[in-house]
Symmetry: C2
Subunit: 280 residues, 2 copies
């Protein structure tokens, strides 16, 4: 479980699932994997990783997503898709890129993002560090519940649960029937099934947990209006801690802040989304 | 001061400054006002209000920006500009719109946003309210310093300071020579010179305060990589409270969270940006 068990080809499942190939000067073909289905669509974070993989190949000098903003226009389905790339600006150190995911004539997702070489940015950066956010406390993994041990009827609706190990404190396991703490926050241990995280897969991690509204007694789908992801550091190998929090649910919408902490206790990514509250 | 003193034409200065006129099916002409200059460019929040004004005219059924993501590609200058609009999706209740600001052949700013009728969204919304963010405490306005009382050499560099009343606690007045509290947060009273705030002007308010890095002893320009604004409620008339906070400064970048609270104590807007730390 989570032991870097790659396939015989040596390629991890996630890398196969986000694979793209160039089809013209600005278009890449992808094949959205059925394993990333969540209910009526394909996981939005996985789609961001597919897009980022295309942009990263398109701009080899700027391989890492730094900040990605995404608007979802229609639900994706497994199968063929196209990533269309429009480079808005390419300076020496950064590129600003619009990239859209299409399936046939249907726009699924429009993104704008800044890409760079994260190591290069860091090498030239002001060395000051000042992080006042606090790494979430989680029980030891052996005391947690593995989400892919969910009942078959849940997994048939959310096959994505088998793509990773997500370990949650038993009292937080709300999407399997719990009530939620009412605090508007929950956390989980997280690891892709067969490889460690990198800047591209972090985009998936930043949208992997269920909506924090489950913790507020409102189960169900919370449609994302916009999601912004910040990739701040390359994660160290090993388990990640992921936390979701909402502090402003009002007028039928809520913001949800996500943090991803790596095995060395570093805050490697943040995301914020604005989403609609599930129907009562 | 701040007493709704509109011009003889009855039009507030801000409305004149964000005025646009349609020039073809998808393009609007604007005239960026020199009064919004900040150092080497034009205030990014003001530019978002100009763009939103064009989109609002373009989509009369969806007059209000709900969530706006902006990437700045080059510094704007006062004078003629064009807003180019590309509607990605227009459902019954929401529109997703790409809008860019150009000056001649130079792209200044690329935005994607969701627009809607905020009153209509709220009328159909889940009525639950749960806000755990806390309205900032500020001294009474008469004990604060008005930023447009800054020395002339500051105002000639930042003429924007005369567009609004921004009242700051004296010990926070760091951009006039103070040291900063080191806490990574500061707040201000805010009001446009001659009119109350609305969803379009809120975009300006969400990017009006100086970078929070001033409070961390790092004065100077902090280039924004990306800014996302959430407009959650129409502000009540009167003074706003605006607060900036950073909790994650690392690797030469920081996130900055902005909150805007209205005169009735409601959290009406939030923004988050990822910016580069000023050079040491």
């Amino acid at each position: 479980m989570g032991e870097s068990a790659q396939s015989a080809s040596g390629q991890a499942e996630f890398d196969r699932d986000i694979d793209v190939r160039r089809t013209d000067a600005t278009t890449y073909a992808a094949d959205l994997a059925p394993g990333w289905v969540v209910g009526g669509g394909v996981n939005g974070g996985y789609l961001l990783s597919v897009i980022a993989n295309a942009v990263s190949q398109h701009l080899p000098r700027h391989p890492d997503p730094i900040v990605v903003s995404a608007f979802y226009t229609s639900a994706s389905v497994p199968g063929a898709a196209q990533v269309r790339i429009d480079v808005k600006r390419d300076s020496g150190s950064l590129a600003i890129v619009s990239a859209e995911l299409w399936q046939g004539d249907d726009l699924r997702l429009t993104t704008t993002a800044t890409y760079a070489d994260l190591d290069g940015l860091h090498a030239k950066a002001n060395p000051l560090e000042r992080v006042t956010l606090i790494e979430p406390e989680l029980p030891p993994r052996e005391e947690c519940v593995v989400t892919h041990s969910a009942p078959d009827e849940v997994k048939s609706f959310v096959p994505m649960l088998e793509r990773f190990d997500m370990l949650v404190p038993p009292e937080q396991f709300v999407w399997a029937g719990g009530e939620g703490s009412g605090k508007g926050t929950f956390s989980a241990w997280f690891r892709l099934k067969d490889r460690d995280a990198d800047p591209i897969s972090l985009l998936q991690v930043l949208d992997a947990l269920p909506p924090v509204t489950y913790d507020l007694g409102m189960p169900g789908w919370a449609p994302t209006l916009e999601l912004t992801c910040h990739v701040r550091h390359k994660p160290a190998p090993g388990w990640l801690k992921v936390t979701h929090t909402s502090r402003n649910l009002s007028g039928g919408m809520f913001e949800e802040d996500c943090e991803v902490w790596d095995s060395e206790g570093r805050l490697v990514g943040q995301a914020r989304q604005l989403a609609r509250v599930p129907r009562a």
